[in-house]
């Protein structure tokens, strides 16, 4: 055991003697964890108002109703040119008129978040119950989502509600008394007037929003800002931690090849220690570095106000299992790799693909089912399952046994491959 510790301590001393290694272990993991945590909900300014171009080619009370519904749906949006002011600057020149082409270009140039166009004849089509489309332009992509479209969807639902009411009202008026030959509406004007009254009444009722949806996210109490931190950092801390553990531990591959090339390994072999002790010493080095890397990233979570759940030992066990598995993978790869270039390439390839594949960079739930199935080949998937059980789902030690078991089973197989084929010279 003493020999093992001596090898480990020596390797760690060499590693930490280089300030560059220390920087690599701390700077990028911390920066990336913070950026991702903040970007996915762990902070930032939620009061930013978004500029949306609203081109009303109809200029009727009905088209104005769409705008009103949009305002009710999402107060963070402001609409140009109607809302142009000091705090809601539309970035239009004094004599500039917002045309369709200009508005489209503004969205392309990122000046406006989106463009909504109410077509000419909108109100007329509503009154005659003809289909009418509101044109929507945006550069929002699948990755970033589209909150303007969500608001427009809700506004259109409301507008359609009043239209449906008016249509149903007229339809019922038409069939008012099937046994009578005299229609209830004397002429088309009376019919249209009745329709308008039902429409206006429905609009008034809908504006009162008789049904609201209370959206509650567990651990998220509005008054408590810590909740948002858990949502953002709950993904980024274990995710980036696992990613950088892979970088750090698999970086050992490069060191192993270099030691072999510089004959350091061969020198160890001729010393009075067993080969098992040499391997155990190296494995302990990578294990220690991996755990240090996890600790650094998790400390970011602590300072960000993240809630780690009630089972710290379950989190620790998941960390241990993952680091052991990656250390074993490193040894297994070392049997097949002979140059430093290959070591760099392989560790980069595996770290950069297994991490996102396994759900380290984004929640695995957002990916298609087939991706979620493929993800299970990545050790990161099992580590993230364990972490999420504890952090988000009040999991205990029992809940992480399956992911930990899978990781340890994989570690046994990989160690067996690594130890069996390990080349000392």
């Amino acid at each position: 055991m003493r020999n093992i510790l001596t090898i480990t301590l020596n390797d760690l001393r060499v590693f930490f003697a280089d300030m560059g290694n220390v920087a690599g272990l701390v700077v990028l993991p911390v920066v990336l964890t913070l950026i991702l945590g903040i970007a996915t909900g762990g902070g930032g300014d939620n009061t930013v108002r978004l500029r949306v171009d609203f081109l009303d080619l109809d200029n009727t009370p009905e088209s104005a109703q769409v705008l009103e519904s949009l305002r009710n749906t999402n107060a963070s949006l402001y609409f140009c040119p109607v809302d142009d002011g000091e705090e809601t600057n539309c970035r239009l020149e004094d004599d500039e008129t917002l045309t369709l082409e200009l508005a489209q270009q503004r969205v392309r140039d990122g000046i406006s978040e989106a463009l909504i166009v109410i077509p000419a004849g909108y109100a007329e089509k509503l009154q005659t119950f003809e289909p009418v489309a509101i044109d929507y332009y945006s550069l929002a992509d699948a990755v970033s989502g589209d909150i303007v479209l969500t608001a427009l969807d809700a506004a259109v639902l409301e507008v359609n509600g009043a239209i449906v009411a008016a249509q149903v009202g007229v339809q019922i008026g038409d069939n008012f008394d099937p046994e009578s030959d005299t229609p209830i509406f004397e002429d088309d004007a009376t019919r249209a007037e009745f329709s308008q009254k039902v429409y206006d009444r429905a609009t008034t009722y809908l504006a009162q929003q008789p049904l609201t949806i209370q959206y509650v996210v567990n651990q998220e109490v509005v008054e408590n800002e810590i909740s948002a931190a858990t949502a953002g950092f709950g993904q980024s801390v274990p995710g980036q931690g696992s990613t950088f553990v892979m970088f750090t531990v698999m970086g050992g591959l490069f060191i192993l090849i270099r030691e072999r090339k510089q004959a350091t390994l061969q020198r160890l072999v001729i010393m009075p220690i067993t080969r098992a002790e040499i391997l155990a010493g190296k494995a302990l080095t990578y294990f220690t570095l991996g755990m240090i890397q996890y600790m650094i990233v998790f400390i970011v979570g602590v300072f960000s106000g993240m809630d780690f759940g009630d089972a710290p030992f379950a989190i620790f066990l998941t960390m241990v299992a993952f680091v052991v598995c990656i250390a074993a993978l490193t040894f297994a790869l070392a049997t097949r790799i002979s140059t430093e270039g290959q070591a760099n390439g392989v560790s980069l390839l595996l770290s950069m693909t297994l991490a996102p594949l396994g759900g380290a960079w984004w929640p695995i739930e957002i990916t298609p089912p087939i991706m979620q199935t493929i993800a299970q080949i990545s050790p990161v998937y099992w580590a993230m399952s364990g972490f999420k059980e504890v952090i988000f789902y009040q999991g205990t030690l029992t809940d992480v046994l399956v992911p930990v078991g899978v990781l340890l089973a994989a570690a046994v197989v990989l160690f067996w491959i690594g130890v069996r084929g390990f080349k000392y010279g």
Binding site: A23, A133, V164, V168, F194, P210, G234, E389
Partner: protein, 456 residues
């Protein structure tokens, strides 16, 4: 000139004959494909993610109107957990004997897998422990407060309100958002139906009050039982007339989500990995000195500046070739996934110009890092950190930062230019200028420093 080319060619040969370089070429392609598939199912008309486990708790006590008892909570639950065909028939809108077509939607069963529970606390606990992803809790007053309020002179009376609860997990915010959107759509149909009933009947009553003739007929029809209004259409989306037309603003928006992501992330990834090629390509001078190759070149009958220029030119061409290969690789992946030959990058002449300029910028970064670093080891540590920083700022990892921060990265300017060209927009003058100035300055300063460090 031949000698410079020979040295440059040697650089290219050494880089591309190294089998491990294949991994540097493969990694960005694999990573971009993973990101493309991961986010490709997030928008559009159908959601391509696994079914969301939902618990529904119906606490609705129902209500009675016109001697009829009804429970909207039960109808709501049946939409998520269909029990028989009666529910779907109930939503049909028939006008003059013709069933009106409704908007074609992705079946709810493909998105949601729901179970009914009787306790709200149990449902919330189920979400907390991960058994369910989302819980929907229908309140006891749901039907009572949603039911149409009909009567004379009630327009000024505020309508009763009810609240549906959607309870989600902070560990799976996306599922919560999706279910909230679905619940909003379905519940709006309930609201619309009841509002239509109330607005119609109250208009009839108001008309009766205003016009005696109308009142006589209305009362007579009611008394005779011939006034049998059919409000089924009010609870269906068949009569919705207003739709949203999502207009493509750029050429790339006409492509699938996968292709859009591949252009955006793939170009950024290509540049990110090209930064490594530039860095490690120039760092090889240290190994050459160690192995004596550099000294041998120095004693060859040619000015030492040839060695420097050849080395830097070789490094530039390495980067250029790598960017071209990665773009071809991404084009191939897009074509394979889409099942048709697809060139995803836009105008070839502009793309070529951009590749030439961006390669200068990328190799400039490498020169600068190697030039500034005092030792090979220092460059090996600091270089990847700087490269990764540029990648984060430039949006290479699937998330974007505000432009004001991103603009510090050549990856930002490069990937934005690639995106513009893919969109059919050749207005990339500013991007080219920034890359040219940024890259040119780094290239010149870096080459000068590199010359000093390498001792050529």
């Amino acid at each position: 000139m031949n000698r410079i080319w020979t040295i440059a060619w040697k650089e290219i040969f050494l880089t591309y004959s190294d089998r491990s370089f294949l991994l540097i070429l493969v990694t960005p392609l694999v990573l971009s494909t993973i990101i493309g598939f991961a986010f490709g199912g997030l928008s559009g008309n159908t959601l391509n993610i696994g079914a969301i486990d939902v618990a529904i708790v119906n606490l609705d006590e129902g209500t009675t109107a016109n001697n009829q008892t009804f429970n909207y909570g039960t109808i709501f639950t049946d939409i998520f957990i269909p029990t028989d065909s009666a529910v779907t028939d109930a939503n049909q809108c028939v006008i003059d004997g013709v069933v009106q077509p409704t908007e074609e939607q992705q079946p709810l069963s493909e998105i949601i897998q729901a179970v009914a529970l009787i306790s709200a606390d149990a449902a919330r606990a189920g979400v907390d422990d991960g058994t369910y992803q989302v819980a929907i809790i229908i309140p006891p007053d749901f039907s009572q407060n949603l039911a149409p309020v009909v009567g004379a002179n009630i327009d000024d009376t505020p309508l009763p309100k009810t609240t549906l609860e959607v309870y989600a997990s902070s560990g799976d915010a996306l599922s919560g958002d999706i279910v909230r959107g679905i619940v909003a759509g379905i519940s709006q149909q309930f609201v619309t139906g009841n509002v239509a009933v109330a607005a119609t009947l109250n208009t009839f009553i108001a008309e009766s009050q205003a016009r005696p003739g109308f009142a006589v007929r209305f009362l007579a029809a009611q008394a005779a039982g011939t006034f049998q209004p059919d409000f089924s259409c009010a609870f269906s989306d068949a009569l919705n007339t207003v739709t949203i037309q999502n207009e493509p603003l750029t050429a790339i928006q006409k492509q699938s989500n996968f292709v859009q992501i591949l252009v955006q992330i793939g170009s950024a990834q290509a540049l990110f990995f090209a930064l490594f090629t530039s860095l490690f390509g120039l760092l090889s001078v240290y190994d050459e000195r160690k192995n004596g190759t550099l000294q041998r070149m120095m004693v060859a009958p040619m000015p030492p500046s040839y060695i420097l220029v050849g080395k830097i030119l070789g490094n530039y061409l390495n980067v250029l070739l790598q960017v071209v290969l990665l773009m071809l690789g991404l084009t191939l992946i897009a074509s394979l996934v889409e099942g048709r030959l697809l060139f995803i990058w836009g105008d070839l002449a502009w793309v070529s110009l951009l590749v030439v300029v961006i390669s200068l910028s990328v190799s400039g970064v490498g020169s600068l890092i190697v030039g500034f670093a005092r030792t090979q080891q220092q460059a090996q540590v600091v270089g990847p950190l700087i490269n990764s920083g540029f990648a984060i700022l430039g949006g290479a990892f699937g998330f974007t930062l505000p432009a004001i921060v991103g603009q510090f990265s050549p990856i930002y300017w490069g990937s934005q230019a690639f995106l513009s060209l893919a969109n059919g927009n050749t207005d990339i003058g500013l991007n080219l200028l920034v890359l040219l100035v940024q890259g040119g300055v780094m290239f010149i300063v870096g080459s000068w420093l590199f010359n000093k460090r390498s001792g050529i």
